[in-house]
């Protein structure tokens, strides 16, 4: 499958099992949606655990959530939404063949993702310092409810899994920048960028739910 083509854009070859590029694109996209469903269900387990325990210990959630820094959570929500915006703009720039702009937007997305992680780092170190740790590691004495360690187990599991997704997202977007620099994308072929965009928006959606669930319990 070669033809070392000296065009500005390296040619993407349509897989031989597809009729045409459009079919290939649609199939790739559908595959991504199916993958995202598995992601929903992975986070879903944690969300259900959260809901069940909240039903069992509502007053514990109210008391424990005051230990979280709502302002930092809100700041991170704004940061992540902005990063979703820059990613959406990066995708449309790629689709229009505007390489420079696309790379700029992806770099901005990575920058915002890093800001998110820095804020998270400050939040986590505050929790570590106060002994607000999961399960057996919990050592805080200010919160009186004996079930409070459960809240922090959920907090760290949920934000931790989300944080890992942010890290992976940074990796994927960096890879997209690299491929852009290598002129692999054009207005004719941009599937990987669009799919990474989906992934990134999904990470945003998870946070959109985590923020009110963890920081705004009432």
């Amino acid at each position: 499958m070669s033809s070392t083509h000296e065009s500005a854009y390296p040619v993407h070859h349509v897989g031989h099992h597809f009729n045409n590029a459009s079919d290939e694109f649609e199939a790739a996209k559908q595959g991504m949606w199916v993958f995202l469903v598995t992601e929903i269900l992975m986070f879903g387990g944690l969300f259900v655990a959260y809901g069940i325990f909240r039903g069992m210990y509502p007053e514990m959630y109210v008391e424990a959530h005051h230990a979280l820094q709502m302002k930092m959570g809100a700041l991170n929500t704004i940061v992540l939404i902005t990063s979703s915006l820059t990613m959406a703009l990066a995708v449309s720039a790629t689709q229009r063949g505007k390489k420079q702009r696309a790379i700029g937007m992806m770099a901005a997305t990575i920058f915002l993702a890093c800001c998110f992680l820095v804020v998270k780092y400050f939040e986590y170190s505050h929790k570590f310092h106060e002994g607000l740790l999961p399960g057996a590691f919990y050592s805080n004495t200010e919160i009186t409810n004996p079930k409070a360690p459960l809240f922090f187990s959920l907090y760290f599991m949920m934000t931790g899994l989300h944080g890992i997704h942010v890290l992976i997202g940074i990796g994927l977007i960096s890879w997209m920048i690299l491929r852009s620099l290598r002129n692999e994308f054009s207005e004719n072929f941009y599937t990987p960028v669009e799919l990474v965009g989906f992934y990134w928006h999904f990470v945003d959606i998870v946070w959109i739910y985590l923020f009110p669930l963890l920081y705004l319990v009432s």
Partner: protein
Amino acid sequence: MSNNDHSNHPHHNQDHSHHHIVSTKTALTVAGSLFFLTVLTVVVSRVDLGVWNFPVAMLVATVKALLVMMFFMDLIHDAPENSVIFGAGFLFLVIFFILTASDLFFRGNVYVKAGTPLVATSGRSSLKNPWISTPELVSHGKELFSQNCVTCHGPEGLGNGVAAAGYNPPPRNFHSQTGWINGRKPSNIFKTLKEGIPGSGMASFGTLPIDDRWALAAYVVSLNSERPASDTQEDVAKIGYDLKTGLAAGGARQEEKTIPIEFAIERMAVAEPAPAHGALGANERGFTSVGGQLYQARCAQCHGEHGEGGVRVRSLGGMPKAYITTAPLLANRESLKSADAFNHVVENGLTGREMPGSADLSGGELSELYTHVKWLAGQLH
């Protein structure tokens, strides 16, 4: 191939024919709406809407998520089956949640109906001398044990089940020769299963059919390398088992007072109006003194109006249901021996024993409460 003959206009190229591109203006409008909704959800969370705070927060989050999906992920211009696929993910999540929650919050409703016996278990044994172990009894008991007891007592009956750490006192190790409260003869274990050990994690399994209880007893006895002495006819008579008819006392159990722990805590959270005077006749002091009123409002739902205990504070789930119950607040209980010990228990609760702490009581209230509980204990025999 098709890759090579692309037209220049992105909207009309061959490869991504008709693929919609999100315009910058749309993207900015959506981001603006998302910022607005974030601010809105924070503001709304600061307003007390009662039970509506949570649904409103979730509604706003869902609108935000929908905006991201529809415009950033451009689902509105995507093939409809992709919306179906993604939507199905959320739908399954909702089903997952509803089924889990309904099991947890409504399971108790299946059997507990006021006034009716819990389960119409047959009160008659079909076995000749069920306290004498047979291989069939032991193997049936083993099966029941794995369904009802392993979570606490562990698969080998060592008292190290997955839930064991949550109980104080810990579940009994069936291999030990000492530390038994009722004893370890089959008749003793039958009694434990009938009544539970009130005040501990050992629930009453009186809802199990009578022969199942004998089978469990035979299995538990078989675990210990040193067999206990055999049951005499007196032992068996002592637990109310009629040798002639095979009828056991407590076959069909009386309905106990039931209050789920979640409900108890809920009741504690809202200030309770003092119950109407005279509702309980004799127990005057319970309603007139400060301690008595506190007790009625915050303790009676678990310890009984008169401290008599016997109230179910937790259901173990399972079929049939078993409940952990409170013991009477008798004067010889450790925490009733000094005000300090009492205050400590009441303020901090007891972990592993479902006793919640009430950190908000003042010193004066605590001492009133102590006086009242001591008085109640004096009334109990």
